[in-house]
């Protein structure tokens, strides 16, 4: 089965990001396909490489990056939600006159249409939020 996933909450404060990750791992293990993971609302905070959790805790952002690299999963951060919350890649940063970017490896920034497109393409859409 082909899954589309939306993550609506940021890392650490809410469990949604952990549950979404566990779901994605389990689905892949069972031979399913993840068409795209779309990060919306505070979920965009899953994609900042500046995250520095304590060493004895899980690194949620790094975990996503590794998942993307290993399984070639499309991790998309919503541009409108990202702008509000200060998540930027080099292009976005330059376009908005900022002095830095912070996007984590494996993520890309794009529009809300990517969520709709994923919902249409996927057999199942899963929303992980509160």
């Amino acid at each position: 089965m082909k899954f589309g996933i939306m993550v609506s909450e940021g890392p650490y404060t809410h469990q949604a990001a952990d549950t979404a990750y566990n779901f994605a791992m389990a689905a892949l293990e069972k031979g399913h396909e993840i068409y795209r993971i779309f990060f919306y609302h505070d979920g965009v905070n899953n994609g900042t490489r500046l995250t520095t959790p304590p060493q004895d805790d899980r690194n949620i952002v790094k975990r996503w990056s590794e998942l993307a690299e290993k399984h070639e999963i499309d991790l998309v951060i919503c541009v409108a939600a990202a702008q509000r919350r200060g998540i930027a890649d080099a292009d976005e940063s330059k376009r908005n006159g900022k002095d830095a970017d912070n996007i984590a490896p494996g993520f890309r920034i794009s529009g809300l249409g990517q969520l709709l497109e994923a919902s249409i393409q996927a057999d199942r859409t899963m929303v992980f939020g509160d």
Binding site: Y40, H41, L112, G113, Q114, L115, L116, E117, I120, G129
Partner: protein, 127 residues
């Protein structure tokens, strides 16, 4: 950043709005999805339930909150061909609201009917 709009396939999509319009950003960002999503020409359904029914309340005044009153945007939904708008009856009633209190015309459905309709959808996006 161009989004590809797949042609041909039409899915039944339901946006479920469950949260109050202010206090959190979910309602505003959900509305943004609905407006952008309109370009995909899917079979769109909007349902408002729980505190989400307050999103459609008439005469919202956000001056004291210092945030933008985005409720007039719901009136634009019709122009985006979003015409299937539902409100859960029980959610309205427990909050002392009637359809006269709402900013746009809606169809009122009971919990059972909402639940059945959800079961009939291809995609549920929960906000």
């Amino acid at each position: 950043m161009e989004d590809e709009v797949p042609t041909g396939e039409v899915k039944k999509i339901m946006y479920i709005n469950r949260k109050a319009p202010y206090g959190t950003v979910y309602a505003l960002e959900a509305l943004e999805v609905v407006l952008i999503g309109a370009a995909f020409e899917q079979d769109v359904h909007l349902v408002f339930m729980d505190d989400g029914v307050f999103q459609l309340k008439k005469d919202q005044d956000t001056k004291g909150l210092g945030v933008k009153n985005f409720s007039p945007t719901y009136r634009a939904l019709e122009m985006y061909d979003v015409e299937k708008v539902y409100v859960e009856k029980e959610s309205l009633e427990v909050r002392g609201l009637t359809t006269d209190d709402l900013i746009i015309p809606v169809e009122v459905l009971g919990t059972k009917e909402v639940s059945q309709m959800m079961g009939d959808m291809d995609v549920l996006l929960n906000f």
